[in-house]
Structures are given as structure tokens and as C-alpha cells.
């Protein structure tokens, strides 16, 4: 019996609304309803027929509460991926596909919603998941600090040049500057400002860090067969993997020394590519969850796009930008320059870039890789494709 889910489900609708932090025009659940209806309209699908929901990162919007606004007829299935950070973002696609392919649900919305006025600061919510006296007692209370520890090891011990972070951040801002929906629209990264910005936690300065937005995103998944009858070109889920391995996790910084400075994806990389029957060379565009610049670099290494040895040759600005780069990354601007609603914009762009709807199109792109939140105790990634 073949249990592969590859190519059997598809994203049929996309909805995404983003606002400056603290300025959402509606409370969080209201913004989420808008995004879900947007996704359904995009697909030409009645919101009342969505019968499944899945989220990640401790989202507070229990699906049953969405039913009156959506007109939901039957709520057949709902779930959430464990973990407080962005590690579960791509894992949602695996849960949704599992539900659809086993007949538990027919149309599943994958979502995430955040408004500071309702859920507070994301950074605080993530850390509430992890904080303990070991950390607080040594002044380590924020994701930026935890990731800074790992970044320092990656630079100083593993020899990754710090300049590669600048190349990645520049590429994100370059794409964001050409995206009217991005916080960075119309603004290329000022390199001098980048290099002299205030320190947050060494080795990170301000522009190494993603900054939170209010907003909500929703993606409608149905079977690949069903998607063919809907309005938009189906973007198929080719593979998804989530999890970790011994030597990685919430281990009080006692991760295996070979894994410590990584993004945590080595445990899922082979499963991810094997399920799709692809290799890193087959990926046309990468949507990379970069909570912090160094973790984005670590994630690209983990996913097999480069190594500690050749990272400086591969992660060059010219190579990372659409349409001409060999490894276009974050074509809408990513978390850094498009906006950060717990990384959801990377999932949205992983679909749009294969529909020809990207603000920075990659000509002929047929595969996209969504690299989920790096550094989380459990991580996940997914690969999408179009015929």
C-alpha cells in the first residue's frame, strides 16, 4: 500500500491581510474571517463549505468560533501543530492533506491570525512556551537572544562569513521594495544603515530581525481532483515533513554539537525531498522563514542549497533575486521586508510564485520550497509544484 500524499492535494485559494503592528482595523478573529473569505473567493468556493481548519504556533482562534461568520454547515475536522514558534507552519499542510486524503474533511483552511491588541506581542507568546529560570536568570528572554547564541556559533566556530546574512537581507528587501503590499515597498536596503543599526543582541543588529505585523492569512486546500474544478490554477503539495531527531529540541542549549548552530532541518531534509522525488537542484524558488538573518542562512544550508564551505559563493545577492538568480529566495520580501504575521507570508508566496502572481516572478517556476521556522524545537518544511 502506497501512503504517499505527493501530488494528491492542492491549494486552491489564497487570502492574506496585513497591517502595521497594533493597527488591524478589526479584532483578530474579524481579520481572520476576512482572510478566509478572501481565500474562498480566490478559489470560487463557498466559505460555508469549508469543513476543516488547521493552524500552528498556539493560534488563539478556535475554529468552532468562526462558524457563525463563515456560515459553516459542518465542522468535520480541526487540529493544530504543536509548538509556540513558526516550526509548525509547513506541518499544517501535512495535517490538512492527511485529513482530506482519509476522508475526514473535504475542504480545509490552513490559517494563522495575529493582532497585537488581542494576542499581545508574538515574541512574548513564543517565549512563554519556552521560558524557565535557567534562561531568565541569565537574561535570555527573547527569540532574538536565543537565535543570537546559535548565530555566534555558526559565525565564529563553523566559519560562516557574517556577510552572507547581509546578502540574504538585501535580497529580501530588494523583493519587498517591488511589492506594493510589503512593509518595505519602495525602499531598497540602505547598506550603511544595515551595518550601523543599533545592536539588539550581538551578533544581531536591528535589520537582522523580523518585525511583527498584525494580520491574518488563509490557504484553502482540497483534493487535487477537486481543485481542477475551481477557479485558480491548482498548486499541488508534493511533500511535507515535520519533526526532529535526538540531539535537538528544547534542551537548555545542550543540543548535539553538530546540530547546535543549524536551523534544525537536517532531521527532516531527506524525508522532504524523497517524498517529492526531488533534490535541492530541482527547486525553482525558495520561500524562507527568516525570523533572523542567520537562521535563514542556517536553514538554506540545512535544506542542502549550500554548505558551511561554499555558503559565501552561493548566497550572493545576484544569485538570490528574481528573475535571474539561480536560487531566488523570498520573492515577495519574506518576513523581513514583506511582513511578519508569524511567517504566514512565506506560505502565501510559496503558492503565489507558482501561479504567476508573485510581485517578482521567476519565469517558468514549477517547484517551490517552503522552509518553515528555523531554530524551533520541532520544524517543518514543504514542497509545492504545478503541472
Amino acid at each position: 500500500m502506497s501512503l504517499s500524499l505527493s501530488g494528491k492535494t492542492a491549494i486552491a485559494g489564497v487570502g492574506y491581510r496585513q497591517y502595521k503592528r497594533g493597527t488591524a482595523p478589526l479584532p483578530e478573529r474579524g481579520v481572520l474571517v476576512r482572510a478566509i473569505v478572501d481565500a474562498c473567493e480566490d478559489a470560487g468556493f463557498d466559505p460555508a463549505d469549508v469543513d476543516g481548519f488547521v493552524s500552528y504556533g498556539d493560534d488563539k482562534n478556535e475554529p468552532v468560533r468562526l462558524m457563525p461568520d463563515l456560515g459553516t454547515r459542518r465542522l468535520n475536522w480541526s487540529a493544530q501543530v504543536w509548538g509556540g514558534g513558526g516550526g509548525g507552519i509547513a506541518g499544517t499542510f501535512g495535517l490538512a492533506a492527511g485529513a482530506i486524503l482519509t476522508g475526514q474533511a473535504k475542504a480545509v483552511v490552513i490559517f494563522r491570525a495575529l493582532a497585537e491588541g488581542n494576542s499581545g506581542r508574538l515574541a512574548a507568546a513564543v517565549m512563554a512556551h519556552h521560558l524557565n529560570d535557567h534562561m531568565v536568570g541569565v537574561g535570555q528572554v527573547a527569540p532574538a537572544q536565543v537565535c543570537a547564541m546559535r548565530a555566534q556559533r555558526m559565525f565564529e566556530y563553523h566559519g560562516v562569513p557574517r556577510g552572507v546574512c547581509e546578502e540574504l537581507v538585501r535580497a529580501s528587501y530588494h523583493h519587498g521594495s517591488r511589492n506594493p503590499d510589503a512593509i518595505g515597498y519602495g525602499k531598497e536596503l540602505d547598506l550603511k544603515a544595515f551595518r550601523t543599526a543599533r545592536w539588539i543582541a550581538e551578533p544581531f543588529r536591528l535589520f537582522d530581525c523580523s518585525r511583527e505585523n498584525d494580520g491574518a492569512g488563509a490557504l484553502l486546500m482540497v483534493s487535487a481532483e477537486h481543485a481542477r474544478d475551481l477557479r485558480k490554477k491548482p498548486v499541488k503539495l508534493l511533500s511535507v515533513a515535520q519533526g526532529t531527531e535526538r540531539g535537538w529540541g528544547d534542551l537548555l542549549e545542550n543540543d548535539d554539537p553538530a546540530l547546535y548552530a543549524t536551523g534544525g532541518f537536517r532531521a527532516i531534509k531527506d524525508r522532504l525531498y524523497d517524498q517529492a522525488g526531488l533534490t535541492p537542484a530541482d527547486i525553482d524558488v525558495v520561500q524562507l522563514y527568516e525570523n533572523f538573518s542567520a537562521q535563514g542562512v542556517a536553514s538554506l544550508i540545512d535544506h542542502g542549497f549550500c554548505t558551511y564551505e561554499n555558503v559565501a559563493e552561493v548566497l550572493k545577492f545576484e544569485n538570490l533575486i528574481a528573475p535571474s538568480g539561480k536560487l531566488p529566495v523570498n520573492t515577495s520580501g519574506g518576513n523581513l521586508a514583506h511582513g511578519f504575521v508569524h511567517g504566514f507570508v512565506t506560505a502565501v508566496e510559496a503558492i503565489r510564485c507558482l501561479r504567476g502572481e508573485s510581485p517578482n516572478p521567476v519565469p517558468g517556476a514549477r517547484t517551490s520550497l517552503l522552509a518553515g521556522g528555523p531554530g524551533a524545537p520541532t520544524v517543518s518544511s514543504a514542497i509545492f509544484g504545478v503541472d
Binding site: 541569565v138 535570555q140 528572554v141 556559533r153 539588539i200 543582541a201 547546535y260
Partner: protein, 135 residues
Amino acid sequence: MAQMVTGQVGAEGPYWDALAQGRLRLQRCTGCGVWHWPAVWRCGQCGSWDHEWVEQEFVGTVFTWNRTHHRFAGTEGLPLPYTTVLVELDGSGVRLQGLLEGPEDGLRIGARVTGRADRTPFGETSIPSIRWSLA
């Protein structure tokens, strides 16, 4: 048991009791001898439920470090900037974080450090924690 502020992770109560008294004790499995950190109730390597808490020296090597400049909520008890080091202990190989005190010239991965127990102010209370110094 030592008073907890944000809570312990799991089975490391004796660690906190010792640290509050200025000493360092770490958990070792009496079944197979492996050091466990974070502390466990059951040894996932050999299945033993029996452990001993072994006194260790505050001596080790810098594994990595960061220096905090931004005033994150919850760090008000610490003057900015402050440097946090992750130290791999001699003997057990367990890694423990602490605040770096004293001169910082020569701070690098691989630098030798010695330490002592102290307390970090937090709101109305304080948390036992380690201070490391470059050797």
C-alpha cells in the same frame, strides 16, 4: 525546594537546591553513567529510573555567547549591555549558561572560564544563576 519564578523544566529540582546554596550538582544515571541535561525522570538510553546528583566544579570552556543591548521585558534587573555565555563544563560536558562578569577581553569560543553561583534580580524576587569569568 528553591523558589521558582518562571518554573523549572522538569526533574532538575536538586540542581536548583544546590545552586541556591552556592554549589553545582548535576544528574548522572546510575544505570549507565550518562550525564543528563536537561534532567530526566527516566534514562532514555538504558531505561533506568535511578540517578545520582554529583557535585561538579564551576570550570569549563565557552561554547558560544551573545551580548544583549536591547531592553527586553524581564531583564530590567541587569545593566545594559550584558554578556551571556554558554559554557561546556569540564568532566560532565554538560552546557550551562551564565552571565559573564569581569574583563571581557579574550572572550571567544574555546576560552577557559571559572564560575560561581549568584542570584539575578527579577521583579520582587531573584533567581539563582551562574556568573562566569574568563580564566
